[in-house]
């Protein structure tokens, strides 16, 4: 069995008693409270889920949603986002059942409750995938079954040099700054973050935002282009300062 130890996460509002006020407000239908609660839960759940998936991968019991056992780190992170989303959604859906106390009136931490939901989501997802994997394997074993395409070989994780890592870190910092400062419309920013960071497909974004897929594509492209121009401008400014 795989032990899924809780990773070290920074102490958040979720782990303090203050969160109970937020929970009460969210239960009463306060959308602002729900936003804050989900944002806090996300910061707590994402590293926990990622850690669970990494533990599974290390124990060779991980299967991605495309039924591949070994995938790149980026694919694992994408999966973690999906499961974090499912966990936060389940948290909101079941919030009315959280009372902060068990049947004997003893205190139950909100973070413990959320963590258990995350574990349920991860286990249920992996169990579903393994079941599907076994079903497909059984189909393949039947001589009369249509033979599906062979699985792709696992992608090896790319090994970056220290220089490349330094450049990546610097670019990441610039992109974060660009996301906050570049003149993207709110719709472009949402589409870019959903597509590249949260891993939603263009069709999923279209469904969530109520627009056509073509509009989503344009929003993402325009957003990326604005970010790239902003980053280029910042890099040139730095180079000018450096050359003085």
């Amino acid at each position: 069995m795989v032990r899924e130890g809780r990773p070290q996460v920074h102490s958040s509002l979720l782990q303090s008693d203050e969160v109970l006020h937020l929970v009460d407000a969210a239960k009463a239908g306060d959308e602002e409270a729900m936003h804050r609660l989900v944002a806090e839960a996300m910061a707590f759940v994402y590293p926990a889920v990622l850690s669970m998936l990494r533990a599974r991968k290390a124990a060779h019991t991980y299967l991605s949603d495309t039924m591949q056992g070994d995938r790149s780190a980026a694919a694992l992170e994408e999966d973690a986002w999906e499961l974090t989303h499912a966990t936060c959604l389940a948290m909101l859906d079941k919030l009315h059942t959280f009372r902060g106390r068990d049947l004997l009136g003893r205190s139950v931490k909100f973070s413990t409750w959320v963590y258990a939901i995350a574990q349920n989501q991860v286990r249920a997802a992996l169990r579903r995938r393994w079941r599907e994997h076994r079903r497909r394997a059984a189909l393949r074993a039947r001589p009369d079954a249509d033979a599906p395409a062979a699985e792709d070989p696992p992608e090896p994780d790319a090994v970056a040099s220290p220089e490349e890592l330094a450049v990546e870190r610097s670019e990441r910092a610039l992109v974060r700054q660009a996301l906050a400062e570049a003149p993207l419309t709110p719709e472009q920013r949402d589409a870019v973050v959903m597509f590249y960071v949260l891993g939603y497909s263009q069709a999923q974004i279209a469904e969530r935002t109520g627009v056509q897929v073509g509009t989503v594509k344009k929003r993402i492209f325009d957003g990326v282009r604005k970010l790239r121009l902003y980053i280029e401008g910042r890099s040139s400014a730095r180079a000018d300062v450096g050359g003085m």
Partner: protein, 212 residues
């Protein structure tokens, strides 16, 4: 907005190139030959790569994520059937009622288990579930880190009934009521058998402070 690359290709072509390079054959061929467009393509790809590396700590990500989840939750809630207008039971009464119901279910569970009546018992060996307070067994499968041999004040265990190897085993029983509470929680966990056919039971057990 300024021209993209050398300006020969339209924005729609570049969007197609970015999202489905295999289909944008004309632009792909052009990019291979035009230094301006090659540089544009390289910078766009680098921006994409840097975006993919943005983490949950970014305020923009937290904002977009929380709005997306809350919107989905509100949409689900709007689709859900209206409340049936049940009479609200005072918490004290609800607590006793729940305890009484839990005790009944607990008896049924124990009796059913003994008689081998539960569906998962008929398919394979039932998971062994023993909850008490004291030192944690070596092979406990907790939902949070527990150290074997350590006293726990609060712990959440998860037991998958379709996994015959899964079990929670602790030693040192302190009180029958606490064991009953754990079973009560197991009984109250709905559904015991989930839609995907697996049984998920999350048990939260808490030891009173100072009770060692």
């Amino acid at each position: 907005m300024v021209a993209i690359g050398c300006g020969r290709f339209a924005e729609a072509d570049w969007a197609e190139y970015l999202f489905d390079e295999a289909r944008a054959t004309a632009l792909a061929r052009h990019v291979a030959q035009c230094p301006l467009c090659r540089e544009e393509a390289r910078l766009l790809r680098r921006t994409e790569a840097a975006l993919r590396a943005v983490g949950p700590e970014d305020p923009a990500v937290r904002d977009v994520f929380s709005r997306s989840v809350v919107a989905e939750h509100m949409a689900r809630r709007a689709k859900a059937p209206p409340a049936s207008g049940k009479r609200r039971v005072p918490p004290a009464v609800r607590g006793w009622t729940a305890l009484a119901a839990a005790a009944s279910v607990c008896l049924m569970l124990v009796a059913g288990r003994g008689a081998g009546l539960w569906p998962w018992q008929r398919q394979e060996a039932a998971p062994f579930v023993s909850i008490s307070y004291g030192t944690v067994a070596e092979d406990a499968q907790p939902a949070q880190p527990l150290t074997a041999g350590a006293l726990q004040e609060e712990a959440t265990f998860m037991v998958a009934a379709d996994d015959s190897a899964a079990r929670v085993l602790t030693d040192g029983v302190t009180a029958g009521t606490t064991r009953a509470a754990a079973y009560a929680q197991m009984a109250a966990a709905t559904p015991v058998l989930s839609a995907d056919g697996a049984a998920h039971v999350t048990l939260t057990v808490a030891r009173e402070r100072g009770d060692s």
